[in-house]
């Protein structure tokens, strides 16, 4: 609103609150604020009356009482004697697990598909178009359910892996065998992977009731250290190359630096693998990943990848053809043109929709409730809400948590946007 600041001062009249543009905005804001506050007071008042009517109160004390139910997938220890708060944590971690895995997979698939859609291979380009259109135009919920059904209907039951003495005697093979040299079994319930075990672990401690494993920390530290040393090595090699024109051979040094320390540490801790073995009803030992997790991750990734692919394609197409032609003229080969010329520029266009896609993925993890994946919605907003009957508290807490997660992702997006913004005019 442009105001003439040097207008002669009139005496103030009440009607100026409506007619004078200088004051009108204050009037409007005042009224709006008043109305909104009244509205909220009305809501709060209603809530209090309703709660009193039903003899309920608001309190979060229930979070510290015994949960009493079991959760099939847990990243930190949990039993049915744990508290509802612990169940909430488990749910939150499960949400993160799916969100992170799906973001990663969606990016990989999406970028690949987006590039392949522009490929000059007729068949592949068509196939990718079909994939993108089919996945974008059918509800995600359907994909989640279908993927889950496919897993549980087409994979063999654990019993099929059983080899009995009679079968060996008769020379029969079991109906199903484990993949990858008998280390991985994908049954219709879960994916069973070998787990690393340590003979001489470094121990650990509990931090805020979340167990911290020192062995894992140590391994990670060593890996990060190695990578850092390797980068220094390469930097030095580059410096020498630029100074003298000769590049010292580094590959064996890199290999040494990258692998030897880790291998030494792991051997010192006594690393060996625990393979899943069929015992009783199920595979025991190793990691067992429930199909609700796998199906949810795959379905969300494939669905979101179709959106990512579209933004990747749009990003690449947005780079004018002159750029790649110039690169060809310089004698760059197609894949180097893509990597060195087109992609760096396209990223500016691609990344913002990609991050908002990450936001969508995080929100879409709540659909896991349809296949009973116990994420935050499943524990806090599902079983806990149900068993305690604390709808208001559970729903408010859950919305708050999702809101905080979303706002964090949007903050990252905004920071990125400002950092890559073209400094124009």
């Amino acid at each position: 609103m442009t105001l003439a600041s040097d207008t002669p001062k009139d005496s103030f009249r009440l009607s100026m609150l409506i007619y004078d543009t200088r004051y009108r905005s204050y009037t409007i804001q005042f009224i709006v604020l008043g109305l909104v506050m009244l509205f909220f007071m009305w809501l709060v008042n209603n809530t209090i009356t309703n709660l009193a009517d039903r003899g309920k109160d608001i309190g979060f004390g229930f979070l510290w009482s015994r949960a009493g139910y079991d959760i099939d997938q847990q990243l930190i220890p949990y039993t049915n004697d744990s508290t509802h708060f612990r169940a909430l944590l488990i749910g939150l971690l499960n949400t993160f697990a799916v969100a992170i895995a799906a973001c990663f997979l969606a990016t990989v698939i999406g970028v690949t598909v987006g590039i392949l859609r522009l490929s000059n291979n007729w068949l592949v380009a068509r196939l990718m178009t079909v994939y993108v259109e089919v996945f974008r135009n059918v509800p995600l919920l359907l994909w989640i359910i279908l993927t889950y059904v496919i897993f549980s209907e087409t994979r063999p039951v654990p019993k099929d892996y059983k080899v009995t003495d009679e079968m060996i005697a008769a020379g029969q093979a079991p109906k199903a065998t484990m993949a990858l040299w008998d280390t991985v079994a994908v049954t219709n319930r879960s994916t069973n992977l070998p787990a690393p075990l340590l003979d001489r672990p470094l121990g650990g401690f509990d931090f805020l009731s979340i167990p911290i494993n020192l062995s894992v920390l140590a391994t990670l530290a060593v890996i990060i250290g190695s990578v850092w040393f390797n980068r220094r090595l390469l930097k030095r090699a580059k410096a020498i190359q630029e100074a003298t024109g000769d590049r010292p051979t580094t590959w064996w040094k890199s290999l040494l630096i990258l692998f030897v320390p880790v291998i030494l540490l792991l051997t010192a801790m006594g690393l060996h693998w625990e393979y899943p073995v069929l015992k009783g009803f199920n595979f025991q030992g190793g990691y067992s990943i429930a199909h609700s997790f796998t199906a949810l991750t795959i379905a969300i990734s494939l669905y979101s990848a179709s959106y990512v692919a579209e933004s990747v394609r749009a990003g690449i197409l947005a780079i004018s053809k002159g750029q790649s032609e110039a690169a060809y003229a310089l004698g760059l080969r197609p894949n180097r043109t893509m990597n060195l010329v087109v992609l760096p520029q396209a990223l500016r266009v691609i990344v913002p929709p990609m991050i908002s896609q990450y936001l969508n993925i995080t929100k879409n993890t709540t659909l896991g409730t349809a296949i009973s994946y116990l994420d935050l919605k499943g524990t806090l907003g599902g079983i806990t809400l149900n068993q305690t009957g604390r709808e208001l508290e559970c729903m408010m807490l859950m919305m708050l948590i999702y809101l905080v997660i979303s706002l964090m992702i949007s903050t990252v997006l905004n920071v990125y946007n400002t950092s890559v913004k073209l400094k124009e005019r």
């Binding site: 392949l116 509800p139 359907l142 359910i145 279908l146 729903m395 919305m399 999702y402 809101l403």
Partner: protein, 480 residues
């Protein structure tokens, strides 16, 4: 003159290019096998297509269309193609198609939602082709024919078919004679559709309409004296007085005098794709104006209005739709006065409107942001006030830019209507499927309903997205 010549006098026929450079082989070589990497890709693609076909074709080719239960289906497949064969049992769709489309809606009243659906296209005609005689007439005509055919297919009684055919004929004629007049249908469509779907006494919607008329009248008279915004508030108060106090008396009186009514259908009977369309279309139309206001609020110079808009938008964009739906189920009744009680469907529609308006607001903000600053300055220079500038200059352009975004929001919303099953409504994907599977005859059926519902969703969403792409190209006037 017979002498040898050093230059050929007759042209020899051009020989064909080498085999690898012509016809199918060339095409194959260039498009599929142009290098080792491409060859591998092609082989992988062929393998993927082959597995897909190998997995699905026997199952599809063994389809059974006539059976009364899943077991009967399986028996037929085994009898036809041997012990190990599997086959799709589309008989389920044949028996239960009506629930997938209409839920538990009264069977004899199927013509009502169908007509409402057809009228929606008539209402859309002026939006799509304002004042264009030919396309408008073609669209209305085609819709009319399809409607009559559909009504025949649904087994509607001939009286209603004749009535609808007459109405549609009149509309087609209007589209030919005075295509701009169809706007009346657009304006009245919400009332008509509401009445067609729910039924009851005809005077309820009429009373509501009178309220709007009062609003418009009061606004028109008072806006000259007090300005647009205040006039709207005054009009709203006048209309609210009508709705709150006088309307009931008015409608009851009219109803006793002239009881014209359709069979009243309860919201709980809505289901299947009918429910998905009702939620999706209501939410998108209602969220458009709210979204525009929010977007304007977010761009406003007034800090309080801006903060409130930003807070509203970010909150609803930050939480997943499921939590909002559950909130509608669990929390909304806490927030309303004690003993207020209304339908779950209505509650769901309200929260979906709120949810969608936050997204629409962002789409429209994108449109507003894309406008060059010069447009605003030009409007100011012409001496237009805020609302005039918005109405005459800013919004027409911003909305045009936002159309693809709005359509894709709608597609997203339409797909998201499947989530209402999680709060117990009968959506086509999970709600109806659950009902079907709880029938002892169809227990254990799972691929067929999902594929059927998925195919319909695909058809609807795909055609909408294609249409929006077409529109985007058509409206592109900047020729960049």
């Amino acid at each position: 003159m017979s002498k040898s010549s050093f230059v050929r006098t007759a042209m020899i026929a051009p020989s064909l290019p080498p085999a690898s450079e012509r016809g199918v082989i060339k095409w194959l070589r260039e498009n599929l096998f142009s290098g080792p990497f491409n060859t591998i890709l092609t082989l992988v693609a062929i393998w993927a297509i082959y597995t897909l076909i190998k997995g699905s074709v026997p199952w599809l080719s063994n389809s059974v269309w006539n059976a009364e239960s899943l077991r009967e289906c399986r028996d037929i497949v085994i009898a036809q193609s041997g012990e190990e064969a599997t086959g799709a049992c589309w008989a389920m769709v044949r028996v239960r198609w009506n629930q997938f489309l209409f839920g538990l809606y009264e069977v004899s009243e199927y013509w009502r939602p169908t007509t409402a659906f057809a009228l929606m296209f008539v209402a859309l005609t002026p939006v799509l082709y304002y004042g264009l005689r030919r396309p408008a007439t073609i669209l209305v005509g085609v819709v009319s024919v399809l409607l009559v055919l559909a009504l025949f297919g649904l087994g509607t009684d001939s009286g209603h078919i004749l009535m609808m055919a007459a109405i549609m004929a009149v509309l087609t004629a209007v589209a030919w004679i005075a295509p701009k007049r169809l706007v009346i249908v657009t304006i009245l469509f919400p009332l008509i559709a509401f009445y067609m779907l729910w039924g009851g006494s005809v005077w309820g919607p009429v009373g509501t309409f009178v309220g709007f008329a009062i609003f418009a009248l009061v606004w028109w008279i008072s806006q000259r004296f007090v300005g647009v915004v205040v006039a709207a508030a005054v009009g709203l108060i006048a209309a609210a007085i009508w709705w709150g106090t006088l309307q009931t008396a008015f409608t009851t009186a009219l109803h006793t005098a002239m009881p014209i009514e359709l069979l009243y259908i309860r919201s709980d009977d809505f289901g299947g794709f009918l429910l998905a369309f009702v939620i999706g279309i209501t939410a998108i139309t209602a969220s458009l104006p709210i979204g525009i206001l929010l977007a304007l609020g977010r761009q406003s110079d007034m800090p309080i209005v801006k903060t409130l808009s930003v807070g509203f938008i970010e909150f609803f964009r930050g939480v997943p739709l499921i939590t909002v739906l559950f909130a509608a189920n669990f929390m909304l009744l806490y927030f309303l006065p004690p003993r207020t009680n209304f339908d779950l469907i209505l509650r769901v529609i309200i929260v979906v409107i709120i949810f969608a308006s936050a997204y629409i607001a962002e789409v429209i903000r994108g449109g507003l942001a894309a406008l060059p600053r010069g447009q605003y300055e030009a409007a100011d220079a012409l001496g237009l006030d805020y609302w005039q500038a918005q109405r005459l200059i800013i919004m027409p352009q911003a909305l045009k830019i936002s159309i693809p975004g709005i359509v894709s929001s709608f597609i997203g919303l339409f797909k998201d209507t499947t989530l209402v099953a999680l709060v117990g409504l009968m959506d086509p994907l999970q709600g109806v499927t659950k009902v079907v599977r709880s029938d002892t005859a169809w227990k254990g059926i799972y691929w067929e309903p999902y594929l059927f519902v998925g195919a319909i969703f695909f058809l609807v969403c795909f055609s909408m997205s294609r249409y929006s792409m077409y529109l985007e190209n058509k409206l592109k006037t900047d020729h960049r």
